[in-house]
């Protein structure tokens, strides 16, 4: 693909849609605003779109959350292509349901369980950068704070943090009972990140915070 077809000058971000994906439109807007080019991928695809430089699994309720959140989507053909992309060191970001899918696919450690309160939570939360050594936090040091919203029922991460790299933790009250307040965890290599908060919903001043841009920028390849 020529740079003329990529007006933003950034990378080609494959946004993967599953039956029940919800947040792909706001994710696409955030990627475009960050200078990336959106390429759509479908759950039955066996390959990612030509020129894909990074992958985003958006939020939603794939397959109606049946069986376990993300379980059915994680066994779909496109996930073999996502796994191969991750194996080559390519960036993969999973948000909310996308995080659940990456855990169920074994690309990230642990699993997302029902919130401890068994209630849906929808509110702005404050996050703190923990491991600042991954490509995802744009040079923000450990302890840096980001304000990003959450909206989920099954966001309590459970697993062994030592099997990955904890990139983000909830500050203050833990909104879902997540183990060690993990909000986002990356693979050991750091190139695959899953998080329950929605950075794509924190990229416009109208929404009260633009801190989500920090996490979208690496994906969009905009330095």
């Amino acid at each position: 693909m020529s740079s003329a077809e990529r007006p933003g000058g950034g990378g080609v971000v494959a946004i993967v849609r599953f039956p029940g994906s919800l947040d792909h439109a706001s994710a696409a807007r955030a990627v475009a605003e960050a200078g990336g080019t959106v390429a759509w991928a479908w759950h039955r695809d066996r390959e990612l779109p030509p020129g894909t430089t990074s992958v985003l699994l958006p939020g939603g309720f794939s397959y109606g959350d049946h069986l376990r959140c993300g379980a059915i989507a994680s066994r779909e053909p496109v996930m073999d292509a996502v796994r191969a992309h991750a194996g080559r060191g390519g960036l993969v970001l999973g948000v909310c349901n996308g995080f659940q899918i990456l855990c169920e696919a074994g690309l990230l450690p642990g699993v997302l369980r029902a919130n401890r309160t068994l209630s849906f939570v929808c509110r702005q939360v404050e996050l703190e950068v923990d491991d600042a050594g991954t490509p995802w936090t744009g040079g923000r040091p450990a302890g840096a704070r980001l304000s990003v919203p959450i909206k989920h029922h099954d966001g309590a991460w459970f697993g062994d943090p030592g099997e990955g790299r904890v990139v983000l933790r909830y500050r203050g009250e833990n909104p879902n009972g997540s183990h060690e307040a993990v909000a986002g965890i990356a693979s050991r290599e750091g190139n695959v990140l899953g998080l329950m908060p929605h950075p794509e919903e924190a990229c416009d001043p109208l929404l009260g915070s633009v801190d989500g841009r920090v996490l979208i920028a690496p994906l969009a390849g905009a330095a």
């Binding site: 069986l67 376990r68 059915i72 699993v111 369980r113 068994l118 009972g177």
Partner: protein, 70 residues
């Protein structure tokens, strides 16, 4: 079923509700799920176990048993 030792918020909620109804002596409560499969092959148990490993069960948080009714 949720693995022993894994917090089960559904079980906790049910336990609280049972206590509210006056049921006494309720210890732990755990809530799981039952999946019924109609299988034709020669080895339904082996088949069901393979399905549990590949999709039906997340072994990080769940245990399972396979029962056959003919």
């Amino acid at each position: 079923m949720p693995k022993a030792g894994v917090l089960d918020p559904q079980g906790q909620a049910v336990r609280g509700a049972l206590a509210g109804l006056g049921f006494q002596g309720v210890g732990d409560v755990r809530v799981g799920k039952r999946i019924e499969l109609v299988l034709d092959g020669d080895d339904p148990v082996g088949q069901a176990r393979a399905m549990c490993d590949r999709l039906l069960v997340n072994r990080l948080i769940e245990d399972f048993e396979v029962d056959v009714e003919r």
